[in-house]
Amino acid sequence: MSSPNAFTSAFRLLEGPQTLGKGIGFWSGFVVVLALACIYPLFADGYDVGNNVYFFNWAFMALGLSLIWGYGGALSFGQTAFFGVAGYAYGVLTINLGDAYGLTLVSLLAAVGLSALFAAVLGYFLFFGRISGVFLGIVTLSVTLVLERFMSQTAGPQWVIGSARLNGFNGMGNMPSLTIPWPGGDVVLFPDVPLYYVTLALLVIAYLALRMLVNSRFGNVLVAIRENPQRAEMLGYDVRKYQLIGFVIGSALAGLSGVLYTAWGNYITPSSMGMSAAALPVVWVAVGGRSDLTTTLVGTLLVLAGFQALTIYGSQYALVVMGLLLVVTILAAPSGIIITVGSFVSKGLRRRLARETA
């Protein structure tokens, strides 16, 4: 296959059986939303724009969980473990290496790589031990809870890596922001407009790349495993390998979230790996519709925005509302609110079309 051909066939994978939305209508909507996201900083204060990068930071973890849980059918309740590992790794690396010569970007890659490696080791034992869905969930959850407890007790001065104090329960701070080396002065990505564009670009790339991934042969096998592991195995696919690869990719995305969050707020705490932190990604992904990337992304951003608003007006009730939202979603719309409403509307439209043509 010649290379332009390979290029177009990769492009064609942007639409396919595993993703909702196709054709000119969907993509023009996509372009409109993207354009709105691009011009938003023109109409807002730099400080607000920088604050709102927060929402994008989490979306990577949600997309990764959608890949693992929604597409792969493996319940991973401990994505925050990889978030935390990468966040702490970024902190330790950048505090030691500094922010010159683009070393923060090297640290970003190293931290994401470390969380992927951690996921590969853990996932090897889990998937190659062929443990069932239920156990996978509680083992990954236990991992993140133990990591939280471990980091919480690193307060003493003996817990230091190079010049980075881990600081225990209070968390680690003062790591440099992401810095892009640029002729005529480095660009430091403080929470402001430049960071907004960088994060948005990363998010669009991750979203489109994942669309291609799930519509590729790999993604189709992953969905086949979710639908029926025995059948997939009988057809000759190594179930363990596919699930492990999906798990590592999803966890690397959680790691990317961790790095972006840490670099954005120059701060990471053990509670980012705790019980309620671990529950929130599950809520975002379940509410939107975990079996599709677009609904996951939209659902995550909506739930996050709602959570943020609740935290401002009645902080203590926010978690109760999140719990209720999760319970109601699973009971009333198990495949996710956006997917359920969407299929209801499209069914209604189709019925009306059928009536009009008849």
Binding site: F135, G137, V139, L141, A286, Q316, M322, I330, L331
Partner: protein, 290 residues
């Protein structure tokens, strides 16, 4: 003498870890063995038992009764929850787990809102005794006895009572049991209630030894999870031996490197065990026997 007191210390720690693992896990194991569902609100049933028993003790009820009351209330809450929510999800076990997590979030945060950030504990009763220069809490021995008694009680329930026989029939082949006239939905509710009551009992028993905060359930769940994962679906062939083995691991690592090392060691042990024995000790023992 030095050796003997060291041995006693190790046995005491192992027994303590065993009691903690058995008591925190058996409620979870009952529900898992019955329905194949992991109840992520397990920690909140423990919380419920602890708060109810402590409140009762503050109101003047003797400690043993207030502990039992804690278990009873948690059991009733569990049955109510089964009726209202869990029942609708039997066809979708993985969704049940997610729902119980939602319930857990509501319960933890709701407790924080309604009852504040902490509750006054009653303090550990009975004082302590000395062996070889170290003091040991007598109440911990009571907890070990309680763990053994709980296992014995469960054994009697599941093998000697009508409920136990019907429950085991329902576990094995639900629709045949139903065809023979067993009210399986009642059995499910009672079993879920039993699991919740055992969790509440654990909460009541441990309430005097710890600080009562809304997130206290999280202290128990890691141990409960790993014990059930290592043990598998059967309480007597799985949970109890798993707790015994893990107790040695935990006590050894705790006395060597501290409490956290004990927990990390448990988790590593679990990850290694599931690579070798994916169906837990239950699967291993049953395969040996067959």
């Amino acid at each position: 003498m030095d050796f003997l007191s060291g041995l006693f210390a190790f046995l005491y720690q192992t027994g303590d870890a065993f009691a903690f693992l058995v008591l925190s896990a058996c409620g979870l194991a009952v529900i898992f063995g019955m329905m194949g569902v992991i109840n992520l609100a397990h920690g909140e049933f423990i919380l419920c038992g602890a708060y109810v028993s402590t409140t009762a003790a503050h109101l003047g009820l003797p400690l043993p009764f207030s502990i039992l009351l804690g278990g009873l209330v948690a059991g009733l809450v569990g049955m109510l929850l089964e009726r209202v929510v869990i029942r609708r999800l039997y066809a979708r076990p993985l969704d049940t787990i997610v729902v119980t997590w939602g319930i857990s979030m509501i319960a933890t945060q709701g407790t924080l809102i309604l009852l504040g950030p902490s509750m006054q504990s009653t303090g550990t009763p009975f004082g302590s005794f000395m062996v070889g220069g170290y003091g040991y809490s007598i109440y911990r021995l009571v907890l070990m006895a309680a763990a053994v008694a709980t296992l014995a009680l469960l054994w009697v329930i599941f093998t000697r009572t009508r409920f136990g026989v019907l429950a085991r029939a329902t576990i094995q082949v639900p629709h045949i049991a139903e065809a023979l006239g067993v009210d399986t939905s009642l059995i499910y509710m009672l079993t879920f209630g039993l699991g919740a009551a055992l969790a509440g009992l654990a909460g009541g028993l441990y309430a005097p030894t710890m600080t009562l905060v809304p997130t206290m359930g999280a202290t128990f769940v890691i141990e409960a999870f790993v014990t059930v994962v290592v043990g598998g679906a059967d309480i007597f062939l799985g949970t109890a031996p798993a707790a015994a083995i893990l107790a040695v691991v935990k006590a050894g690592l705790t006395s060597w490197q501290g409490q956290l090392a004990g927990q990390i060691g448990l988790l590593v042990a679990v990850v290694l065990v599931i690579r070798v024995l994916p169906r837990g000790l239950t699967g291993f023992i049953l395969r040996e026997r067959a």
